[in-house]
C-alpha cells in the first residue's frame, strides 16, 4: 500500500515537472529537437525509402498470386510491364516537378519528405535538406499544385515544415475571383478554415484561394486550395469557409523550398 502511494507520488512529481516544462515554452520551435532530427536523418531516409518501396510493391501481391497460376513467362513479362509503369510514373512526376520549378518565379530547392508528424494534433513534415542546401527558416514550401507550408526548424541536413493544415499555422489569403481577404488557419483533420471573410462577400464553393502576400513569408498569388463550404454562424461579424488544400498534404513525397 505504501509503495503504491509512493509510486503515485513519484508519478505526480513527474507530471507536475512536465507541465512546468510545457508552460515555460513560448514557441513550438526547439533547436535541440532539430539537432536530434539532423542526427537521425540518415536512418529516417532509409526507413522512408523502405516504406515507399513497400507501398509501391504491395499492389503486386495480388498480381503475383494470380500470375502463379499462369505460365512463368507471362508472369515475368507482366511484372516487367508493371515495373516500367512505376518508373514511367516516377519519371512523369519528376518531370512535372522540374517543369514547375522552371515556371515558378523564385529560386527553389527541391527536397524529399523523409518523415511525418506522428501526432494527431500537429501537421508537419521532415525534409532531407537543411542549411547546408540553402533552406532557411520562415520560407515558404510549395508542391507542384500549391502551397504546402513554411520551414520552421532548420538543421544542417534536415528541416521541419509546418503545414498549412497545422492548428498553429496562419496564412494571409484571398479569394482569387473577388480578391476578398481572410486568414487561413489549419485544423488537425487535415483541412483548413478561412476566417474573417467579410459578410458581404459572395464567396462560394469552388472558389480558388490564393496567398495574399502580406508579410515576408509567403509570396503573393500562390494557390492554396479551394472553398468546399461557406459557413456563417448567427451573431458573428464574419463568414468562414472550409478549404480543401490544393495538394493532398498527407501524401507528399517531394516539395520545393523557396530560397
Amino acid at each position: 500500500m505504501r509503495t503504491q502511494k509512493s509510486k503515485i507520488f513519484k508519478a505526480l512529481i513527474v507530471i507536475v515537472c512536465l507541465t512546468a516544462l510545457i508552460l515555460s515554452s513560448k514557441t513550438i520551435t526547439s533547436p535541440l529537437r532539430i539537432r536530434i532530427i539532423d542526427f537521425l536523418s540518415p536512418s529516417l531516409k532509409t526507413v522512408n525509402s523502405f516504406f515507399t518501396s513497400a507501398r509501391r510493391v504491395l499492389p503486386f501481391g495480388s498480381l503475383r498470386e494470380e500470375n502463379r497460376l499462369l505460365r512463368e513467362r507471362i508472369s515475368l513479362l507482366s511484372r516487367k510491364i508493371e515495373e516500367l509503369r512505376i518508373v514511367s510514373s516516377d519519371n512523369d512526376r519528376l518531370k512535372e516537378l522540374l517543369n514547375f520549378r522552371k515556371t515558378v518565379p523564385f529560386i527553389t530547392i527541391p527536397a524529399q519528405v523523409i518523415g511525418r508528424d506522428p501526432s494527431n494534433w500537429s501537421n508537419s513534415i521532415i525534409l532531407d535538406k537543411g542549411i547546408n542546401s540553402g533552406v532557411r527558416q520562415n520560407k515558404a514550401v510549395l508542391s507542384t499544385r500549391g502551397l504546402v507550408g513554411r520551414v520552421l526548424e532548420v538543421g544542417r541536413y534536415s528541416s521541419k515544415v509546418l503545414l498549412v493544415t497545422d492548428p498553429n499555422s496562419k496564412v494571409g489569403v484571398m479569394i482569387q475571383r473577388n480578391r476578398q481577404g481572410g486568414i487561413l488557419v489549419g485544423r488537425p483533420d487535415g483541412r483548413c478554415r478561412m476566417i474573417y471573410i467579410a459578410l458581404d462577400s459572395d464567396v462560394m464553393p469552388g472558389d480558388k484561394v490564393i496567398t495574399a502576400g502580406f508579410g515576408t513569408i509567403f509570396p503573393k498569388d500562390i494557390l492554396v486550395g479551394e472553398v468546399l463550404k461557406v459557413e456563417r454562424a448567427p451573431g458573428r461579424l464574419y463568414k468562414s469557409a472550409i478549404i480543401k488544400t490544393a495538394d493532398d498534404l498527407s501524401k507528399l513525397e517531394e516539395v520545393m523550398c523557396i530560397k
Partner: protein
C-alpha cells in the same frame, strides 16, 4: 519485473513510432488517423500497471515530441498521464474483452486530445481552432478509429505476450 522485458517494450514503442509516421499515415479516413502510440501506452498501462504506463507514456511522448512540431514535452506529459491513468484503472475492469478494450482506447483518445487542446489553449495566445470543429472533426473520428484498430492489435499483443489478468504478471 514484467512479463515483457523492458527492451521489448521500447522496441514496440519505436516500431509504433515508425509505423505511425509511415503506414498509419496512409490509413487516413475523414482526416482521422489511428494513434498507435497512445494505443500501445494504454495497453502497457492496462496490462502492466501505473508505473509501466507512466514510463512507456513518457518514452512514447518524448519520441512524439521530437518528431512533431509542437510545444516540447507536451506529448510526454499527456501520454505519461494517459498511461498512468490506464494503469490506475487496470485492476478495476476486465480487460480481455474486446468491447472493454475499445471503450478504454476510445476514452483515452478523447481524454488525451482534449487535454492537448486545453494545454495549448492555455499556452498559445494565437490558437484559432474552433472547439466544435476540433471535437466533431478530429476527436470523435480519431477516437472511434483508434478504438477499432486497437481491437486486433491488442488481441495480437495479448497472444504474443500471453498476458492474462492481473495476478499473472504483477
Amino acid at each position: 519485473m514484467y512479463k515483457i522485458s523492458r527492451f521489448q517494450i521500447y522496441l514496440i514503442i519505436v516500431a509504433a513510432l515508425f509505423l505511425q509516421g509511415s503506414v498509419f499515415n496512409y490509413m487516413e479516413i475523414m482526416g482521422a488517423r489511428p494513434d498507435l502510440l497512445l494505443m500501445v501506452v494504454v495497453f502497457f498501462g492496462l496490462f502492466l500497471g501505473p508505473a509501466a504506463g507512466l514510463e512507456t507514456g513518457f518514452a512514447a511522448g518524448l519520441l512524439k515530441d521530437i518528431f512533431a512540431l509542437d510545444f516540447l514535452w507536451i506529448n510526454a506529459c499527456i501520454l505519461s498521464l494517459s498511461g498512468f491513468a490506464a494503469g490506475i484503472i487496470n485492476t478495476q475492469f476486465f480487460k480481455e474483452s474486446k468491447r472493454a478494450d475499445f471503450i478504454f482506447v476510445f476514452g483515452f483518445t478523447i481524454f488525451s486530445m482534449l487535454l492537448h487542446y486545453l494545454i495549448v489553449s492555455v499556452i498559445s495566445t494565437s490558437l484559432a481552432l474552433d472547439f466544435r470543429d476540433f471535437f466533431l472533426g478530429s476527436v470523435i473520428p480519431t477516437a472511434i478509429y483508434t478504438g477499432l484498430v486497437s481491437i486486433p492489435i491488442y488481441v495480437k499483443l495479448l497472444d504474443i505476450y500471453n498476458l492474462k489478468e492481473t495476478e499473472d504478471y504483477l
